[in-house]
């Protein structure tokens, strides 16, 4: 992304500072999953990073140019387990993934294994866009 501004330095550093303060480290609750007498609620973290740079125009040009890039990751950081039959704080347990990454790895592993099983069983030819449209408009 490139923005042309009259006075780049102050404006861009303000923008970057604001963006980072808004997005970095935001945590969000995922969809609750019930299993038996327990409810699991995953917590995800959004990490947001930016980088930028700028330069002055050649002599005789009025504008300066600056550019900056945005990047981010989303990952599960913990899961909250609520026990339905245990009232109060005793019924709430929080398992953090930050230390051992076990939950994150397990979910990833299951999907990878499934993809391997699927590839071993042979892939069928995918439905073309044209055929899909015909089905959807039948």
């Amino acid at each position: 992304m490139v923005i042309y501004v009259e006075d780049s330095n102050a404006t861009i550093s303000e923008v970057l500072a604001n963006l980072q303060s808004i997005f970095s480290g935001v945590e969000s609750l995922g969809k609750a999953v019930e299993f038996g007498d327990k409810v699991a609620i995953p917590i995800y973290q959004f990490n947001f990073g930016t980088g930028g740079g700028g330069g002055g125009g050649r002599e005789g040009r009025t504008n300066n140019a600056v550019g900056f890039g945005l990047g981010g990751t989303i990952g599960p950081v913990a899961v909250v387990i609520l026990s339905k039959d245990m009232p109060g704080a005793e019924g709430i347990k929080i398992h953090e993934f930050k230390g051992n990454k076990l939950g994150e790895a397990l979910a990833e592993l299951i999907l990878r294994l499934w993809e391997m099983v699927e590839s071993q069983m042979g892939k069928r030819e995918k439905l073309s866009t044209e055929k899909r449209e015909k089905l959807m408009n039948i």
Binding site: R124, K134, L135, M136, I138
Partner: protein
Amino acid sequence: MQQKEEIESLLKTCETAKDSVDAFLRSINDFIAVVDELPAVARPLVRRDLESNTDMSADEWKAFLERLGTRYSSIYDATRGVADALANEGNDVEVAAGMEALKEVSAPLIEGADTAIEELETMASYMEGLPAKINMVPDAFLKAEARDGLITSVPGRVERARALKDLLAQTKGELSAVTG
């Protein structure tokens, strides 16, 4: 005379096909309900398996069958219009208008029938192989009760998918004969 017989035959085929669509739609709804009851770990895997093997999710199958049912109802109504016009002996304008309406409502079905037939056979084959696949899932992911529920519901779906496939082929043939 032959045209009247073809129209009568098409009406019967549409009625049978509509029932067949409804039966298969109930099967898909049952499948969705059984999968919704599966443990949290197994649920997304079963959904993903159906989608990757038939190229359509259960919800897409449901939407497709609902549209097919509506299409059959429209074709039935238009065919009934032609049958009534033919019963009025010699009212060519009414017959021609009825035929035009039938041609219009049946065009998407004629165009998509071959693809639908292929997909229904894909679904039938997938369902046929499903019990063996379900038995390969480790007990930790799928309890015996849930496993039995999934397996016992499969055979009816194979038959219904194949019955609907045959009726689609028959409908396409009869429609082509009637509308030219």
